[in-house]
Chain length 470, copies 2
């Protein structure tokens, strides 16, 4: 896919001066080898790799401040890097510049069990955080699949399977510290659970993809590990039946913790990959959190709804090993897709629509795939109206790639025509800039450009992302 | 209290030109009588009344656009007005200007029951909305006490008793339409339940107190009316015990829908006003939402926790008339305070701290009241660490007013020292501008000033609010 927003590279002299200063300051923690640079421009999609000019391995906030000061002083871009699992080219460096790799800033600075919050560095990953918290009976519920860093999740406004119950990262971030263009630090909030104190800076930086400053610390909400977890699965004849069951479950207030849709193509892929014998029709996988009585009540209530919506038997269990087995198909979804066509590229994309339109949206998408002769299993965070396509494409087949682009384009247009969004959780990055105007109108883009200019007048923070060129 | 942020009034000629144009455009819907102007500068606190120069009764979005265009063309301020129930001078007009009264923009434009959302005009009040929704089994959960307009609630980032379960208005707003300085409309989002599409404009306008534009339409999330509601009450010997019970309830994941603290002074006031016989010690009032089995389970679990924390008997009921009786004390809190000292002013303020610090914060506040010889019952949304003081003051007694100001000042400093915020849900307005810098630092204020300038370069939207003068 063509990248259209390519801001100018810095002046060669200024860049050289920045590289020299960074070498002097960081020694062998400043890396300019080709391999490392390319790794940090990794996009996990069909967007071309645009490596930065160098990578600093940051260890503390002071490092971020110094990189930003050196870069700003020379007009050189700065790109934050967590685990590189973003999907829309967020870490690419179209104008070159310096990548700050935050993986070593991975300390949990404080856990406040009574307040259900913790203070962490941006490089802490969600799995590492949950490992750290387990002994205290706490967990961090946002699960985007990849073991992403929390700084990256905040920057991309990530969510995942648990969002239907616990909200997205947006609802989880209480406060941030953000390094601004002159290297000083903006504090966006306190540990209070709610506040009406001024403009919501916290949620402006959440989802800003590092274009307004670099997150150097996060205060995030936690949850108590539920007493009991129940899991269940239910096959439906149609996507419509599965969506209707989901709508009714949410309307009646069943607090489902996860409710995931696998379409028939995805179930088929899972059967082949994991040697399962699931009915090759739309499948819902569910999880319930609560006390023993609560999860039993919730599971029973959902079973009745599923039956009314043409679902098959709804079996549920609280045994960990059986739960794992039930969810195996979902966890293996990505690998099962890869295995369908070894050697092909997998392009992951997501859209989100009002839940009442979800069945139509999935069904029309399936028809489109058939028409275009493309293969893309679908999994959905169906409680939020959000679904993913994993499009298999031979990147060397120009005709197939063209059909793939057409498919992606029509998918976004379909979602937007249904009053939905071009991305529920992957972000805009480079890949989806061309869709923002159709979704929100030119006035919203004006506002975004004005905000970018207000907080990053030099345009040094991750230039070329989110906001398309005027 | 002295108002220090008083931006310059518009040029007299320009103002006259605007008034003339507004008269021509709106006829008798443009009102300049002293009484109506003063009513629209109503602050409900001890802030002086600063009336606008005129009031337009808007009936549709086009009216807002025209007022903004006329005012912007003449450099005249524009102040949005919902129900005038804000508490920190948000609707005052320190530089004069035109108030847009939105009460007649009170249409529910669409209800999407399957998606649990609705689209409304900004003048719809929460009670009117719930009345409208009842037949469909839906409700809007945010309850700040006053029957505020939704546009006003969004602008102040309001919350209230249900926030512990359902979040604040921030979590409820999916998208906004906002009239910007040239009269054009910014669309901030879609009806998708979540989105990663660009900067979070929605949540920048939520809590902006009308300083960045005028909200002309809201898309908000709704909930299904719970099958069953249970209510209960429990007395504690100390505030510490009540707070500890709250912490444990939340940690163990009991999804309390409301958990309200009344301190001993407040219980005493309620006993006197409503002829009740409650023990005059700290009291928790609770509400649980769910199925019959769930609310029973939750109530029972809370009862056990309360007992462990030194609480008295925990009685609970699902009968509507008994629930109403139980909650009577909370609903009458304001009037019971007024009745304590007829003729005195009641100054309502709020702060919010991490819940682990709440008991200390309430206790120290009570000691401070005693030391300063002041009377101020306390009610708290204790699940969020948020509490309100209703300070009774004789506005003609300079010494008492000085002690009142000292108390307020120390209350905010206490909250901030405990990593809390100067306001959990009332907003900054005029009254709390002086506390923002201590809370977030000069860098956050710089960022807020830059955002204000970016989106309202003329400084016509509600000038003199939120951001203190540099």
């Amino acid at each position: 896919m063509t990248i259209t927003n390519n801001p100018p590279r810095p002046e060669p002299k200024a860049l050289a001066s920045a590289l020299e200063a960074l070498t002097a300051r960081f020694g062998n923690r400043f890396i300019t080898s080709q391999a490392v640079r390319e790794q940090h421009g990794h996009t996990t999609t069909w967007l071309a790799n645009q490596p930065p000019d160098g990578v600093v391995m940051a260890q503390e906030t002071k490092d971020i401040q110094d990189v930003v000061r050196i870069c700003a002083g020379n007009g050189v871009p700065v790109i934050a890097f967590g685990t590189g699992t973003s999907l829309e080219g967020q870490v690419n460096a179209p104008a070159g510049g310096i990548c700050i790799d935050l993986r070593d800033m991975n300390k949990v600075l404080a856990v406040h069990a009574e307040d259900l919050d913790c203070v962490i560095e941006p490089g802490v990953t969600r799995k590492a955080l949950n490992e750290h918290l387990r002994d205290q009976g706490l967990f961090f519920p946002i699960d985007p699949g990849a073991d992403a860093s929390l700084g990256g999740m905040a920057s991309t406004r990530a969510s995942g399977t648990n969002a239907v119950r616990y909200g997205t990262i947006r609802e989880s971030v209480l406060a941030l510290k953000v390094v601004r263009g002159d290297g000083e630090i903006i504090t966006t909030g306190t540990r209070a659970k709610k506040s009406s104190a001024g403009y919501d800076l916290t949620h402006l930086f959440v989802g800003a993809e590092g274009t307004l400053g670099i997150i150097s610390e996060l205060t995030i909400r936690l949850r108590g590990i539920p007493e009991m977890i129940a899991a269940g699965a239910c096959s439906f004849e149609t996507v419509g039946g599965a969506c209707q069951a989901t709508i009714l479950a949410i309307q009646t207030g069943i607090p489902v913790a996860r409710i995931e849709l696998l379409n028939a193509a995805q179930v088929k892929a899972c059967n082949a990959y994991s040697k399962l014998t699931l009915a090759e029709t739309p499948l819902l996988l569910l999880e319930f959190h609560g006390s023993e009585i609560e999860v039993a009540e919730q599971s029973k209530a959902f079973g009745e709804i599923a039956k009314d919506c043409g679902g098959g038997d709804f079996s549920w269990t609280t045994k960990p090993e059986d739960r794992t087995k039930l969810w195996q198909a979902r966890h293996d979804a990505y690998w099962s897709v890869k295995a369908l066509r070894p050697g092909a590229g997998v392009v992951a994309t997501d859209i989100c629509v009002p839940i009442s339109r979800l069945a139509d949206c999935v069904t029309e998408t399936e028809e489109d795939l058939k028409r275009l002769n493309l293969l893309s299993p679908i999994v959905g965070h169906v409680g939020d109206g959000n679904f993913h396509c994993s499009l298999l494409c031979d990147v060397d087949d120009a005709d197939e790639m063209a059909r793939g682009e057409e498919f992606m384009h029509r998918l976004v247009e379909r979602a937007q025509a249904m009053d939905g969004t071009c991305t529920g959780e992957h972000g805009i990055g480079q890949g989806k800039q061309k869709y923002l105007k159709a979704e929100l109108g030119p006035e919203a883009l004006d506002a975004m450009r004005a905000l970018k200019k207000a907080l990053d007048p030099q345009n040094i923070f991750n230039p070329g992302k989110i906001v398309p060129q005027a």
